[in-house]
Symmetry: C2
Subunit: 349 residues, 2 copies
């Protein structure tokens, strides 16, 4: 039992918005997810939890260690599947710590009655994505739940990477004066999944950006620039990632709204569905905070890499309004970019 | 795509018993689980997969890396819950490689509508079990699936441990002449879960043996004995573990049936339910293969440890009938102890 919280006789934790049960928003990667971690998981586990990816010592080395479960629906979508998403997602979490991803575990929870051919296609996608990323699947697990207690396939990956000596990348290092960079278009993965799930048709098919980003990170580190912070804006999108960094680094973020690379098809879909593109998940993009003086060097390295061809600066890190993200509009006004509360796109990854 | 298997156009892999869909037996830890790994996952992932726990180099160190998902039903049972099971299970997989467990990841898949108080109790159990085992939860993930697509809580843990120089423990080292030891009573966890699930009442309540075993392993290694093989007989029970070791080590195993420590309540429950105690899951026991000359030393160290008080020798490893496990009965006859095929106790862990 953890000091201060009596889980045995626990009814309704006040900070958790007075809901006594799990709601979809708890899985959205926004404020409700953060509250679940802060008020429920952290008091239970203790203070060692570091976030999406932990950097910890093992003997004489430092490793990055990360995990994610995947419940995306449908399991196959334009540009990918739950299989490559599960590989790339964990590879990217490791890469955002500046680690070289090395090993993956893959654990399936299968629903009774799922066609084995579907499992085969997903496993093939896992294998292909792992080979493409240069990581090895070394261990795994399979559980089966009865029909009615699952939904096809749930997949968990965990990953281990090696962090080179001297590498120190994290939200705590974000600093006023940093340029805020993004590696390419915003909102593509979420719209790709939603469009097939909702049967939407646009002039062009939106294809998921699911991709491994450690090669891009290596190219950025190769410039010798002092990269402060990296983050892949998945669930909760760019808005959630920037708000998390602003809070963790106690800095403000000011975005230049006209600079945000939002493809027309994403903008159209978001308009139709009432979504904010800044809150839509990406699975092959990264945000980087780098000292302004080094921004051009880093951007040049990013643009020379296939996964960073569309890289650009979208804002700056400021000393004003710490913990807050604002966007300066084309007309010169500013608006607050809030942390998403719950879940605008359930089961997007 | 993997050479020789065309998953895109894959219909029904012949070795997989001609079932075109997932059945409960694929999650049982027996022959059907092994076939899924051998014929579906390994061709997709490549040959790097090592099993329950992988030992791999990271820089100058060797780590053990393991994962398991937990879908036990009910989530709370006599002696434990899905929370401590998830910690102890991964701690034990690491310990069976001779590793010192260090770090855990914990990933929840929550069903919408599950009481937060239940999640709190499970998280508290995770935290308490981690503290008891001396491992740190350093990273995690939470996903939510809609009502009807889950079953309360599914939990995944992955773990990382440090393998000391010179330690080499594995099924490949099992050798004719080894004594086969067990740390205590057989079949307790499975019967504890089944009894509450099926509403069975016995004279005594059977309580799960869920426990972390790395301290026991450390005590065994502390004797200086050359421990060849360790295995925690979870899903599929002692029968599955011994068959796996016999195959991997190309040795035979001969059990002395009267020496098998099967508590009366377990025997009664198994008799009532038509189960073989040797196929029932354990969550706090280990099997050890050690050179016969060192068996007494290792047994003494085991018995001096709280989790090994009931340790005894149950058989020997022989050169005859490689890959096969037999039991010698009290009357002097022998019977084959088969690898379980499917799932006699679904969702036991």
């Amino acid at each position: 039992m953890t000091a201060g919280l009596d889980f045995e006789n626990w009814t309704c934790p006040v900070p958790l918005r007075d809901t006594p049960t799990v709601v979809m928003g708890h899985g959205g990667g926004g404020a409700m997810s953060a509250e679940l971690v802060e008020h429920l998981f952290l008091p239970a586990y203790g203070p060692a939890v570091q976030g999406d990816s932990a950097v910890v010592p093992v003997g004489a080395e430092r490793i990055a260690f990360s995990t994610d479960s995947y419940v995306v629906k449908p399991m196959f979508f334009p540009g990918g599947s739950i299989g490559d998403l599960a590989v790339n997602g964990t590879v990217n979490d490791l890469a955002m710590s500046g680690a070289t991803p090395l090993y993956l575990s893959v654990a399936f929870i299968l629903q009774e009655g799922t066609p084995l051919a579907e499992i085969g296609r997903i496993a093939a996608a896992v294998g292909a994505a792992a080979r493409a990323a240069g990581v090895r699947v070394v261990t795994g697990d399979t559980k089966v739940v009865d029909n009615g207690s699952g939904d096809g396939v749930y997949l968990n990956t965990a990953g281990v990477g090696l962090v080179a000596a001297g590498v120190d990348i994290g939200a705590h290092r974000a600093a006023a004066g940093d340029a805020v960079l993004i590696s390419g278009d915003i909102g593509v993965h979420g719209v790709a999944v939603m469009s097939v799930r909702e049967g939407l048709e646009f002039d062009t098919t939106v294809v998921s950006d699911s991709a491994p980003l450690h090669g891009l990170v290596a190219a950025m580190l190769g410039t010798g620039a002092d990269i402060h912070t990296l983050r892949d804006p998945t669930r909760g999108g760019v808005a959630a990632s920037l708000n998390e960094i602003a809070r963790a680094g106690a800095v403000g973020v000011e975005l230049a709204e006209p600079a945000l690379p939002i493809p027309a098809a994403v903008a159209d879909a978001c308009s139709l569905l009432g979504l904010d593109p800044l809150q839509v998940a990406n699975e092959g993009k990264l945000l980087a905070f780098v000292p302004s003086a080094e921004a051009d060097t880093v951007l040049a390295a990013m643009r020379a890499h296939p996964h960073g061809a569309g890289a650009r600066q979208i804002g700056t890190c400021v000393a004003e309004h710490p913990g807050m993200v604002v966007a300066r509009t084309a007309l010169g006004g500013t608006r607050v970019v809030n942390m998403p509360i719950g879940e605008q796109l359930p089961r997007i990854c």
